[in-house]
């Protein structure tokens, strides 16, 4: 089995043993038994269904080890300096979290989420006005980097400097509610826009078209919640420094 074979809609029974991930879905008396073993964490569920399918795809990387915040901060290994009134594209990596959904009667339900990456949180801003964010550190690339889709995804970040001066960018903060995740055989990807409005303020939102043609759209968790709570902002305003 190849790495790319993990993602997609699977029939039951299903067995995946790859990259330290072990997933078994088999029919049992009265239902379907789901077992997962990954990073010393074991999950076992019984699904009371006879003909459901299993869908596995990347989800927003803010769910593990606990759904603490919908915000995600990527710190750059090296600072980026962007010239005045310019629009540049860079690529960064983000950690992949994998969601397992059960699909039956035209309805998806999240069953399990896991990741192979180290988990860390950070604070963006101060303790009174700031937000807790999931943390990741990434190199900045000028072309699409290679990444194992089970571990890391690639994000295209289009940075627009609307100011009349050079601006240093050291990090980017994203809101999970706007994430649009796509996957293909060899890549997990997102696209985002960062609009710098002053030396310390920027606005970040996600772009809908996939990074490459033919990529499949993930079934996201936060996008479905957005339909229930339409007032939540999908953009993130970085007003505590960039």
């Amino acid at each position: 089995m190849r790495v790319s074979d993990i993602f997609g809609l699977h029939e039951v029974p299903l067995r995946i043993d790859l990259e330290g991930i072990s997933i078994t879905v088999e029919r049992d008396a009265g239902g379907i038994r789901y077992k997962r073993d990954c990073m010393d964490e074991e999950v076992e569920d019984l699904l009371l269904s006879s003909n459901s399918k299993i869908r596995i795809n990347p989800v927003e990387p803010v769910n593990k080890p606990k759904e603490l915040s919908p915000h995600f901060l990527i710190e750059f290994e090296k600072s980026i300096f962007i010239e005045p009134s310019a629009r540049k594209t860079v690529f960064i990596k983000f950690p992949v979290e994998i969601g397992v959904f059960v699909y039956g009667k035209k309805n998806f339900q999240i069953l399990d989420i896991f990741t192979l990456n180290k988990q860390k949180f950070t604070l963006y801003g101060d303790v009174i006005n700031g937000v807790i964010c999931k943390y990741w550190k990434s190199e900045v690339y000028s072309t699409i980097p290679d990444a194992n889709p089970v571990y890391e995804g690639v994000m295209e970040l289009n940075i627009t400097n609307t100011t009349a001066r050079w601006v240093e960018v050291t990090k980017a903060v994203f809101a999970a509610y706007g994430m649009k995740i796509y996957y293909s055989d060899d890549m997990v990807a997102m696209r985002a826009n960062m609009r710098i409005v002053s030396k310390k303020v920027a606005e970040i939102d996600f772009v809908n078209p996939p990074l490459e043609k033919g990529m499949k759209r993930s079934l996201e968790l936060y996008t479905s919640r957005l339909r229930q709570i339409p007032v939540i902002a999908t953009k993130f305003l970085m007003d505590e420094g960039i």
């Binding site: 949180f121 950070t122 604070l123 303790v127 009174i128 709570i229």
Partner: protein, 277 residues
């Protein structure tokens, strides 16, 4: 006929019964409306705002029903405005503490130093805020006790809200032996903190030798964590530090004294003198 018996003015027992039925219906309507609001907004609002919204709706329905029922009792709302001032003063004197609690409750709802679900300490009482009523605040202590605190006491007391800010810091003092390598101990502790997801990357943790104590080299460990995860992390991390330091040959120092006996001391002096000669 008893129902047509006049109680006072033009008000009969039938009128009173009719008003009682109307008020009961109003309470039922208020309950049905608030239950439906709770059901439909439960996933869309946090518990604190939902409780306030349902209370406002509930009491508005009741007040409107009472105001509509008053004319049937021969009392017109316009008369209440005139009488209200006098009645207010009388009630104010008669029930100072209740009015005090009520006003404190209103100020608590506007100022919002605490919300439902927060962890707080007021005077000696610590726990989770279960509900904020108009005259009292309900707290569930950490040991599971139900405590009702009058709002006046909450409002005028010193409130410590443990989760008002998004992150908070905790601190350990780790005392190691003088023979141990403090640099290695600091490195081990920093690695352990880095492995903990809830130990925040920023504000950065601090690990440093704070002072050279009587019995140990004291290393201060300061870690920031999300306010909701603070206690769990504090509980886990200290024992991890102790175990990992021990695995690397670094022990926590015990208080100790070197005791010299006079006789033994004299013998040593003689021995030293002989060896010198």
């Amino acid at each position: 006929m008893i129902p047509s018996t006049i109680v006072y003015g033009d008000v009969t027992i039938l009128d009173l019964l009719w008003i009682a039925v109307c008020l009961i219906i109003a309470v039922l309507i208020a309950k049905v409306v608030t239950i439906n609001i709770k059901r439909s907004l439960k996933d869309r609002m946090d518990r604190d705002h939902l409780e306030i919204t349902t209370k406002v709706v509930y009491y508005t329905i009741i007040i409107v029903a009472v105001l509509l029922a008053l004319p049937a009792l021969g009392i017109h709302p316009s008369n209440l405005l005139v009488a209200g001032g006098v009645v207010g003063i009388v009630i104010g004197f008669a029930s100072q503490s209740i009015v005090g609690n009520l006003i404190s409750g209103i100020f608590l709802m506007f100022e919002r130093p605490i919300k439902i679900g927060d962890q707080l300490r007021v005077d000696d009482i610590s726990g989770f805020v279960e509900d904020i009523h108009i005259v009292s605040t309900i707290v569930r202590t950490y040991s599971g006790l139900y405590v009702r605190i009058p709002n006046e006491k909450v409002f005028t007391g010193i409130i410590t809200n443990y989760v008002a800010n998004i992150a908070r810091r905790f601190e350990y003092v780790v005392g190691i032996r003088y023979d141990d390598d403090a640099d290695l101990a600091i490195e081990i502790i920093e690695d352990l903190i880095d492995e903990q997801p809830f130990a925040l990357k920023k504000p950065s943790p601090q690990v440093f030798v704070d002072n050279l104590g009587d019995n140990s080299v004291n290393i201060i460990v300061r870690v920031w964590a999300p306010a909701t995860e603070w206690y769990g992390l504090k509980m886990d991390l200290l024992w991890e530090i102790k175990k990992t330091l021990g695995e690397n040959g670094i022990e926590i120092a015990f208080p100790q004294r070197v005791v010299w006996f006079a006789d033994e001391h004299r013998k040593r002096e003689v021995k030293d003198a002989e060896s010198d000669s």
